[in-house]
């Protein structure tokens, strides 16, 4: 088993950071600061280097510090056991092509980078995964499966391209009052193997994820309720080829591909009822954290690497017992480098006083990072 960890990070002009160079600990890093100080932005910078994008904003201009025209992130990651390093640099400037560089060589396709440095992010905004639309849940599962398997990401990118072309074609049929059955069939035949591959992958990985989710939920909530995560897909009832065939008129009148794996969803349940409706806020929060930890373990088992874990501001809304259970869990041998952010230094100190760890503590104020226990 390998452990990947971020050793050094150099930030310039990213969000509210001017210039910062930080050396992290290989196990536990705590960042403390009040809201808006830049705790989340620091974690987002780490996320960026692993996924070539911000966790929060897809508009790169919003990631550049106010009145600046570029940002730069430079991280040195190390494999704890082999000491092998990966130097990842992200350079984003206005009017320039985004550039991600691995050990001095720029990537031609950013998707090649996904999965090299596995990472799981738990953010307060994530409650939307439970409360919001299916899109967020698909993004979460797709982001996970893409880290496990490059061919999944490739299939997903191709699938989305074919869907876009097919939708444009359906729109043109409508606007120009034409129809070309052969061309539509061409797109269907390209979609079927891609969609089927993605569907089968989702079934297989959801099945592996479920017991992990139940185990972590039990641990964090001390085993009172039973949770479930059910994969919902139209392809469970019908083959994709048949589906596209029978949806022909529906798709033509809607001028888009109405059904397919791009509409899949995952249903979260507690004691057999929808978590969204029947779960308390504490239960929802526990579920969310358990789900993320389950994803962490899925990646670990698959890749034989302990990913980086980012826990952003998660102690609010968790009672003391759940907090202790969570920390006990992530301090165990099944987890690698961890970043935890919170607003209160004293609360953090108290929580970690009970553990035999030596966290590196950073104080963050206005985008400036100060190492407290150096």
């Amino acid at each position: 088993m390998q452990t990947v960890y971020l050793k050094e990070l150099h930030i310039a002009n990213f969000k509210n950071y001017v210039q910062s160079k930080i050396t992290f600990g290989e196990k536990l890093n705590l960042t403390v600061g009040h809201n808006g100080a830049g705790k989340t932005n620091l974690l987002d910078a780490i996320y960026y280097l692993c996924f070539c994008k911000s966790y929060f904003s897809s508009n790169e201009l919003q990631n550049i510090r106010h009145e600046q025209n570029y940002f730069r992130l430079d991280g040195i990651f190390e494999m704890l056991q082999t000491k092998q390093t990966e130097n990842i640099v992200a350079k984003i400037a206005t009017h320039r092509k985004k550039s991600i560089i691995r050990n001095d060589i720029p990537y031609k396709r950013l998707s090649e980078h996904i999965g090299l440095l596995p990472l799981v992010f738990v953010a307060p905004d994530d409650m939307q995964l439970i409360k919001g639309s299916s899109e967020g849940r698909r993004k979460l599962i797709d982001g996970t499966l893409s880290q496990l398997d490059q061919s999944y990401l490739d299939a997903l990118i191709s699938y989305n391209k074919v869907i876009q072309q097919r939708n444009s074609l359906l729109k043109q049929f409508h606007e120009r009052r034409t129809f070309n059955a052969t061309l539509l069939e061409t797109y269907n035949q390209q979609l079927v193997p891609l969609g089927t591959q993605i569907h089968e992958n989702r079934i297989a990985q959801t099945a592996l994820l479920l017991p992990l989710l139940q185990e972590y939920y039990e641990r964090i909530s001390s085993g009172k309720e039973r949770v479930n995560c059910r994969y919902k897909s139209v392809l469970k009832q019908q083959s994709f080829a048949d589906l596209l065939q029978s949806n022909l008129y529906q798709d033509r009148s809607a001028q888009r591909t109405t059904e397919g794996i791009h509409r899949d969803d995952w249903v979260f349940e507690i004691n057999g009822y929808p978590l969204k409706k029947y779960g308390s806020q504490g239960q929802q929060k526990s579920f969310l954290i358990a789900l993320k930890l389950a994803i962490y373990q899925l990646i670990r088992q698959h890749k034989n690497i302990l990913p980086i874990l980012l826990l952003d501001d998660i102690f609010d809304k968790l009672d003391e017992l759940r907090t202790t259970q969570l920390i006990e869990t992530v301090m165990g041998e099944h987890f690698g480098q961890i970043f935890i952010s919170d607003t209160q230094l004293e609360r953090m100190r108290q929580i970690f006083d009970n553990f035999e760890v030596n966290p590196k503590i950073f104080k963050i104020e206005d985008g400036v990072v100060e190492w407290l226990n150096g």
Binding site: K108, R109, S158, K161, V162, Q164, Q165, R166, S168, L169, K171, Q172, N180, T182, L183, E185, T186, Y187, Q189, Q190
Partner: protein
């Protein structure tokens, strides 16, 4: 940029319409032409005008040509039973440079991409089907770039030719991976045409 002369400004603006030419480069080119003899520049302009006005597209293969039928299609030493299907003229040049291919071409003029407003009707697909029917074509080699749009086009054409007894092959996908046909070196391109695969295999390996 401010110019002391409207004539120069107009010329600069025309040059910046060309691909890869920015304002600075355009100005450099204009200043260069200004230093040349009037006769030389007239010749330059006339050549460009003549090129545009007199150029024709071959009635058979749609490649650019100085005559109604191009020199490749007229060359009787070439094997008229094999057609190589390409996107544009640049691909013809790239394949001709290998000196290995002795069949004829069919230039589609693009690939199918509804997002860009390009459907089969905007390309020379119908005339390809006609050629296969009339000209006793035994094999067509698909030499399109390995993009999703290239794949769609190959897929679509082979469906249109389903009832014809023509052999459909494709150049190996690996060769042009990530790049365009015109950037592949000649040796690799020549080899990939020589070792082309039946289209069904292409699909399976894909």
């Amino acid at each position: 940029m401010n110019f002391p002369s409207k004539l120069i400004e107009d010329a600069v603006n025309e040059f910046t319409k060309l691909p890869g030419i920015g304002k600075k480069t355009a100005l450099r080119l204009v200043l260069h032409l200004l230093k040349e003899e009037t006769k030389t520049v007239e010749m330059f302009g006339e050549t460009v005008i003549r090129m545009r006005q007199d150029i024709q597209f071959c009635q058979k293969c749609h490649n650019v040509s100085d005559h109604p039928v191009c020199s490749i299609c007229l060359d009787l030493s070439r094997d008229a039973s094999i057609l190589c299907v390409v996107e544009n003229m640049r691909d013809v040049i790239a394949i001709e440079n290998t000196h290995q291919y002795k069949g004829l071409y069919h230039v589609l003029g693009g690939v199918i991409s509804p997002i860009d407003g390009i459907g089969p009707d905007n390309l020379h697909v119908d005339s390809l089907v006609d050629r296969v029917k009339k000209d006793e074509v035994k094999e067509i080699i698909m030499a399109l770039n390995p993009t999703m749009e290239g794949d769609t086009t190959i897929f679509y054409i082979s469906k249109r030719l389903r009832d014809q007894s023509v052999r459909i092959t494709s150049i190996a996908r690996g060769i042009a991976f990530g790049g365009e046909l015109e950037y592949v070196d000649e040796l690799t391109l020549a080899r990939s045409i020589a070792t082309r695969l039946p289209y069904e295999n292409y699909l399976m390996n894909h």
